[in-house]
Symmetry: C2
């Protein structure tokens, strides 16, 4: 298989996951609960977490067909976090559509999120035979860390002294714990050895960190048309991203003042984005982010060295490569 | 053991559960997440659901010590529903204290609720050995039903034609599914036979229905001092309780008009509570509620006939009896 083959596989598997996802809520009542749930579940998304489960199972000698329900489970968990986070962030749009709490109301969104999580466990159980305890434990650990990560992220909003280490702990919990968990579950259900499970999980953790820093980078360096969102949105909202924290620690004089102002004013005006992009470039934090992304991606790939098959390593390399080269 | 012995046992076990509950969040970080979680967990409560788990395990020949973590899990699940429901209902007080979202804010409460649920699964897993799949499945089924029940309950707020059957479906899901689940899990972990598990689960389900109708009844017939809440609160909030729905279906003429007005105005003034209490008495719905409570309590106790030990049946009878005779 080549890179094109990898994309064909991704598209094929994404559609299969999509089908199970939509079917998951088809016959449930009441509509007042499951129509909103369906709204978010059918709104698309990259479905990267299911892909991690599938590839991890395969990489340790398992089959895709044994982990489709688990794949759906991690996507449901992901959607649960999106729905609840969007309420907390008071976000208006998600995947180009109104967020769930804007389309309906906060109560409906809270409850829809809760249901997504509940049904996630239901689907996870379908694929669990023989490994239920380990799989549920890994999933639950991921869930607990996601909550802790979101809480740290919320804390950062009102703090002006967030260090790079604190930022990394936050994305470790909010993003990387989830991709790690996807890989752990895939490898567990794929029948991997302890060593293989550890290798694949480490891949998931490190690729998750790279993914999040890439996300922070795209916000400022993305092409607006391809990116699909306003460039500089994180600055406008005053979010403490990797680039912002790095810039703040490096800046002096006028640049420092301007960065402190972002925190004072809880963000900047859209017209100011370019000023800050220039500061970022001047301070070299765009390159710093790229270096960091490469570091964690390499770490991720290195952890796979113990896998038997070259082909499996290759498929993870393509995945890592696609994530780094992604434009949105 | 006599009735007094039963209360001693309840108090003793409640304190043990309390201890584990409080310890569950002692060493977790960040504080921004776990201080609010601790606030609700340490705010007391009857801890009836843990008691159901404990007694169910014992009733099928198991030991209390094998199900303490599971008991804590169901209490955490219960607290999760309280925290999220209180946001949806915009409730101010809970157990005599400010509700979590009033003490902090909605975002904190959403996330605290999510964490309570996550840690509930963590604790459930601790007691699961050998039965993980069945136990997690029962717990998850209960969780899904609780969400559906809450959604139905919210629907009822804006509907003027809720039937008694719809009301029963709602409390079956919102209240009885949870007590059923507690008993199922206790009996599963206690090592009960299929027949025993079914018997104890049926007890849990029916006692849950009785409990909820009793709750509706207490709201209007309780002694304000002993009840600890404003008598008639459900009427003031315009809630569609068993008594209200029953009254609406029986009333004619002026009484009917007055009941319809409750819905039109989304509640009544505190000064009107006695007028409605009189209507309820005139229509006999207070007696209807009592009959219904007795019906479901008897059903609950009848389902226990297949249990081997007379002593176990007795302890459930005391529990049922205490629930019916409770004043708050």
């Amino acid at each position: 298989m080549n890179q094109k083959g990898f994309f064909t596989l991704y598209e094929r598997e994404r559609k299969k996951v999509e089908k199970i996802l939509v079917k998951a809520f088809k016959d449930r009542k009441p509509d007042s609960l499951y129509k909103p749930v369906n709204y978010i579940v059918s709104s698309g998304g990259k479905r990267l977490r299911p892909l991690l489960v599938l590839l991890s199972a395969k990489a340790v000698g398992g089959n895709f067909r044994d982990v489709y329900n688990a794949s759906v489970a991690v996507e449901l968990l992901h959607n649960f976090t999106l729905v609840h986070d969007d309420i907390m962030d008071n976000a208006d749009k998600r995947r180009g559509l109104l967020t769930l709490h804007k389309k309906y109301d906060d109560s409906t969104a809270i409850l829809a999120g809760d249901s997504l999580l509940a049904v996630a466990y239901e689907y996870l159980l379908k694929d669990c035979d023989g490994k239920t305890k380990e799989v549920i434990a890994a999933f639950t650990k991921g869930l607990i860390e996601v909550c802790e990560g979101q809480s740290l992220d919320k804390d950062f909003e009102t703090r002006n002294n967030v260090s790079k280490d604190e930022y990394k702990l936050m994305i470790m919990k909010k993003t990387a714990a989830m991709s790690e968990m996807c890989c752990t579950i895939g490898a567990l259900l794929g029948g991997g050895s302890t060593k293989e499970i550890k290798a694949v999980s480490l891949f998931g953790k490190n690729i998750g960190i790279a993914f999040q820093i890439q996300d922070d980078l795209l916000d400022i360096s993305g092409n607006e048309k391809e990116f699909g969102k306003k460039v500089g949105g994180d600055l406008i909202e005053g979010k403490k991203t990797f680039l912002f924290i790095e810039a703040l620690s490096k800046a002096k004089g006028n640049d420092k003042k301007r960065l402190v102002n972002v925190m004072k004013n809880n963000g900047i005006r859209p017209g100011q984005v370019n000023i800050y992009k220039n500061i970022y470039e001047r301070l070299g934090v765009i390159d710093d982010a790229k270096t960091e992304i490469k570091l964690y991606t390499n770490r991720a790939l290195r952890s796979l060295k113990s896998l038997k098959e070259d082909g499996d390593r290759k498929i993870f390399s393509w995945l890592a490569d696609s994530l780094i080269k992604r434009i949105k």
